[in-house]
């Protein structure tokens, strides 16, 4: 939006300038006249802007007084409005505050992006960012090993099998699969569990019990992953509670080694996430539920809705905007499927399904002194995250739901 407005302004100004140039050429005016010309044109331009000003000002005031939102056209007009000096002075404090934030953003978010250059170099500490050798896309080629794909395609002839060999044989591609796989699994499970938990908790009528359950259920959120993984590892070990129970009920004769089987790894990670975060994530839904107008429930009751009916027709639609916003935000986070859990619970036997992009960065980037490779993997991650969030945002918009931008 802001960019668009900027562009409009620039083209208009450019048009004005070309006009002046044309005039200057036709009349062969001196430099002084040329300047005068600009001043005149500018005045005319700002006059026309001032002309719409009172009207635009009214939009905002009326909207504020009568509590209705502005139409798109009105917002457009407002954004075209030129800011007068008086306005600047009045808002000087706000401007200073926002300038600080802009400076902060530039300094800590935009400037560090210059480091991305590292991904296209063979970065060495001795030579630094400025003097390291540029190698183009070599680091990306090293990560993706596209020749493996094309070779498999040639030998097998089918894209599907080629893709399969590629994923199975190239470490980085495998880590992408694991990251996305675990990310989606975590998202779905934690998301659904949090909503279900919030709704169930909301139905509890005993206030003390409700608060107690809520407090206890969000406590695991404050444990660090290293402790949670220790607990998970211990309870699933041969002498842990899970195997004790399995033996007790004669489901297994000898203890089952959960961490030795690749199939179990993703579910274990998802379960750990659910256990740790459900209570915490439910807080926001509980808050959204309390904001629902109680009269709606009363009305539903009069119409004959039972508990289930009220959940389905009042509670769920009531928290849908919250759900959508959180979903869009969390989808961008899919690519951050985690580092600690996989790093702490993984072992050699399950490494094919346990390693995420972050572990790849640590092992092959930092661990091998190959910071360029680490940066390249990081860039890839950022690009995927941006793609994910833009796509999900657009989908949400299309569905007529709340969206981030």
């Amino acid at each position: 939006m802001a960019n668009e407005a900027d562009q409009n302004f620039n083209t208009e100004e450019a048009a004005v300038d070309t006009g002046i140039n044309a005039e200057a050429e036709v009349y062969g005016n001196t430099a002084g006249n040329y300047g005068q010309g600009i001043a005149e044109k500018r005045n005319a331009y700002s006059d026309s802007a001032e002309y719409i000003e009172p009207q635009v000002e009214n939009y905002a005031r009326e909207a504020y007084e009568h509590k209705f939102s502005l139409t798109d056209q009105q917002i457009k007009d407002l954004s075209k409005k030129k800011i007068s000096k008086g306005e600047l002075k009045r808002q000087s404090v706000l401007l200073i505050i926002s300038a600080i934030f802009v400076a902060y953003g530039v300094l800590f978010y935009y400037l560090p992006l210059a480091g991305w250059i590292m991904a296209f170099q063979n970065f060495k500490l001795k030579t630094g960012l400025l003097h390291s050798k540029f190698v183009g896309f070599d680091k990306f080629k090293f990560m993706f090993e596209f020749d493996m794909f094309s070779h498999a395609l040639e030998t097998s002839g089918s894209i599907f099998t080629a893709f399969k060999t590629w994923v199975n044989n190239v470490v980085f591609v495998r880590t992408i699969r694991n990251t996305l796989g675990m990310g989606i699994l975590n998202l779905v499970t934690t998301f659904v569990m949090a909503i279900v938990f919030a709704i169930l908790l909301n139905e509890v009528k005993n206030k003390l019990g409700k608060k107690l359950v809520q407090t206890i259920s969000y406590l695991p959120h404050f444990l660090s992953w290293i402790i949670v993984c220790g607990i998970v590892h211990d309870s699933l070990s041969s002498t842990g509670i899970v195997n004790d129970l399995l033996r007790w009920f004669h489901i297994v004769d000898d203890s089952y080694n959960f961490f030795a089987h690749p199939l179990w790894f993703w579910p274990i990670v998802a379960f750990s996430n659910v256990w740790k975060e459900t209570g915490w994530n439910a807080i926001i839904y509980l808050a959204a539920i309390t904001a629902i107008d109680p009269s709606l429930y009363e009305a539903a009751e009069i119409d004959g809705a039972g508990r289930w009916g009220k959940i389905r027709y009042i509670t769920l639609p009531g928290i849908t905007p919250t759900i959508m916003i959180l979903l869009v935000m969390n989808i961008g986070n899919i690519i951050n499927a985690g580092f600690e859990v996989q790093y702490l619970l993984g072992n050699g036997l399950v490494q094919d399904v346990s390693q995420t992009i972050d572990i790849y960065v640590l092992k092959w980037g930092v661990g091998q002194n190959d910071y360029s490779l680490g940066t390249a993997a990081g860039i890839f991650k950022s690009v995927v995250a941006i793609l994910l969030i833009v796509i999900s945002n657009n989908v949400a918009k299309k569905m007529g739901q709340e969206s981030l931008f």
């Binding site: 060495k124 607990i231 030795a260 072992n347 036997l349």
Partner: protein, 592 residues
């Protein structure tokens, strides 16, 4: 409302308390900081008069003493400011060095962040990050000072010094370990071995165990009759006959026994055939296959720990500490420093749970080199002076001074009369009371100052009688042995751990001048095809070796492993190794 808040608070408290209880097995590093180091007076017990009377040295006053820092990329425990012996050394040398250690990162990460901050310590041992320090021009060359200071020059022969030279032809660091002065006094085996609990040998009547088959045979027989035992506190412990650690980088306990079983020394990453001077890949030798087939067989018999592939290092140490595990392959430094003190305090040592090393081979091999005689020079890391030092000459003078016998004794033996006594033959000894005191962490922090990552000696003291370091003093070694262990040594007529192994006694530097190849392979990274292959080989082995051991059909699994292994292009790695070997041999021939 308030009540509810209190309940919530109480629960948080309980939870965090439970958390703390859960981790009380972790390290207990107690550093008692008794304030600043200014104006600390050293309690002079009159003990050091004996040593100062021999040489009349200048005593530095507090104003003259320079305060420097050192970072070692290894976990360690910090000593207190105003540490007794540190102060004595400061007065004698005019330098006081504050040591800091690695906490919660890898060496490379720590060195990386030090370089990025530009805040260099005066002295540094960067471990695996040494090369980065050199590449960032952060180190001062030793060359001019080696000639100037005799104690430093004495550390290594010219050939050994040359091994430390970097691409620009200069020496930037010297490794401080594994360096023997005069005759070796070594009683320990600080290398890899098949370890076995003393009680198993005792039970079998101290038999000769020479081959891998005999070893597992013994474990099987013992386990058939002893499924569990009762420890000193009356708990029943189920016995695990054999476990394998394969957690992350510590998977050498699973992976490299093949080279030893064939009779070769620990080159770490490859075998070097001394006859042809060719590199051999031990991952694919028939012996290695035999070794993994044996492990597979024992796994299916239930002798190998079912959980070995998924246990973490902490779980492994916990298992060992209960005395449950009868045997395993490991490096001494990887478990014994933790496990032995636990055995001593829990009474398991008296039950014969302590481990002795065995030097095993496969049938047909007669010699073995599990124990390395002679000093292994690890030229890939060491003590260095950084460019942040304003007076490098003074720094090297200090490194020279702390190698003087009187200061070396102070560092390792302590203050005479307080930490050790001298008998009429001039031999140093400690009373049990002194030993106990020196085992106390808080006393150690306020009294002992090893400067353990600065130049030092092993072997015989310059007086020709004592050991440079107390751990190697024969009387100290025997005084600390538990009864079952002493009986075992007696039964095998062994004077110490190396005799238990019975490796070929040869000076490794004379017979294996390239040794060890791991000092090269540890430094590999993505820069070369060999380095990339090395990384991939590691990943493949991490996955496949446990699978092979746990397979129901060994031959089939081994074939799949070999396919996956050859896909990593090990030949790139082996060719580079051959190149390095040839270079090292050429350098060696040149000095002859």
């Amino acid at each position: 409302m308030k009540m509810k808040k209190f309940i919530a608070l109480g629960m948080v408290g309980m939870l965090s308390a439970a958390t703390l209880v859960g981790c009380d097995k972790g390290g207990t590093t107690t550093v008692i900081d008794d304030g600043g180091d200014t104006g600390t007076t050293v309690v002079d017990d009159g003990g050091d008069e004996g040593s100062t009377s021999a040489t009349t040295e200048k005593e530095y006053s507090e104003d003259e003493i320079i305060n420097w820092t050192m970072f070692s990329a290894m976990p360690g425990s910090e000593i207190n400011d105003g540490n007794d012996i540190q102060e004595i050394i400061a007065k004698k040398t005019g330098v006081r060095v504050k040591e800091t250690w690695l906490t919660g990162q890898t060496a490379a990460e720590a060195v990386g962040s030090i370089l990025a901050s530009g805040d260099l310590p005066t002295f540094i041992d960067g471990g695996d990050g040494m090369k980065e320090l050199y590449e960032a021009d952060a180190l001062v060359a030793w060359d001019p000072y080696i000639e100037k200071y005799p104690n430093l020059k004495e550390l290594y022969t010219d050939y050994e010094w040359d091994m430390f030279r970097q691409e620009d032809g200069k020496i930037y660091w010297a490794n401080v370990f594994n360096n023997t002065y005069g005759e070796s006094k070594a009683t320990g085996h600080n290398d890899e071995a098949f370890w076995i609990q003393v009680r198993v040998l005792e039970w079998a009547g101290y038999p000769e165990v020479k081959t891998m088959d005999e070893y597992f045979d013994l474990l099987e027989k013992y386990y058939a009759e002893n499924k569990s035992f009762t420890d000193a506190e009356g708990n029943t412990i189920n016995i695990i006959p054999y476990t394998i650690l394969c957690d992350d980088w510590r998977y050498f306990c699973l992976e490299n026994a093949g080279q030893f079983l064939d009779g070769y020394p620990n080159d770490g990453s490859v075998i070097v055939d001394p006859k042809t001077m060719k590199i051999v890949d031990y991952n694919t030798t028939p012996t290695s296959k035999k070794y993994f087939a044996k492990l597979n067989e024992e796994y299916n018999k239930g002798i190998v720990d079912k959980e070995f592939a998924t246990q973490t290092y902490d779980e492994y140490i916990a298992k060992l500490s209960t005395g449950a595990v009868l045997g395993m392959v490991d490096q001494n430094w990887d478990f014994n420093y933790t496990v032995t003190p636990i055995f001593a305090t829990s009474g398991l040592a008296d039950l014969g749970c302590e481990y002795v090393p065995l030097g095993l081979v496969v049938d047909g091999v007669t010699e073995q080199r599990w124990h390395t005689y002679g000093d292994t020079v690890n030229q890939s890391s060491g003590c260095a002076v950084t460019t942040s030092c304003e007076d490098p000459d003074r720094a090297f003078q200090f490194l020279n001074d702390i190698l003087n016998q009187d200061i070396h004794d102070l560092r390792y033996w302590g203050v005479e009369g307080v930490d050790y006594l001298v008998d009429e033959d001039g031999l140093y000894y400690r009373t049990q009371e002194m030993r106990d005191k020196l085992n106390d962490t808080s006393y150690k922090a306020s009294h002992v100052c090893n400067y353990s990552y600065m130049p030092q000696w092993l072997g015989t003291s310059r007086d020709g009688k004592n050991a440079m370091q107390p751990a190697e003093q024969a009387s100290e070694f025997y005084a600390g042995l538990s009864e079952p262990l002493a009986n075992c040594f007696k039964a095998y007529n062994a004077g110490g751990y190396p005799d238990m192994i019975g490796s070929v006694e040869e000076d490794v530097n004379a017979t294996h001048p390239w040794f060890p190849m791991w000092s090269w392979s540890n430094e590999l990274n993505n820069d070369t095809p060999g380095g990339v292959a090395w990384g991939k080989m590691g990943e493949t082995k991490h996955k496949w070796l446990p699978k092979v051991v746990m397979a129901s059909d060994f031959e089939k699994e081994w074939a799949s492993y070999m396919d996956a292994y050859s896909a990593c292009k090990p030949e790139d790695f082996l060719n580079e190794a051959q190149g390095v070997l040839d270079d090292r041999m050429a350098a060696y021939e040149a000095t002859k």
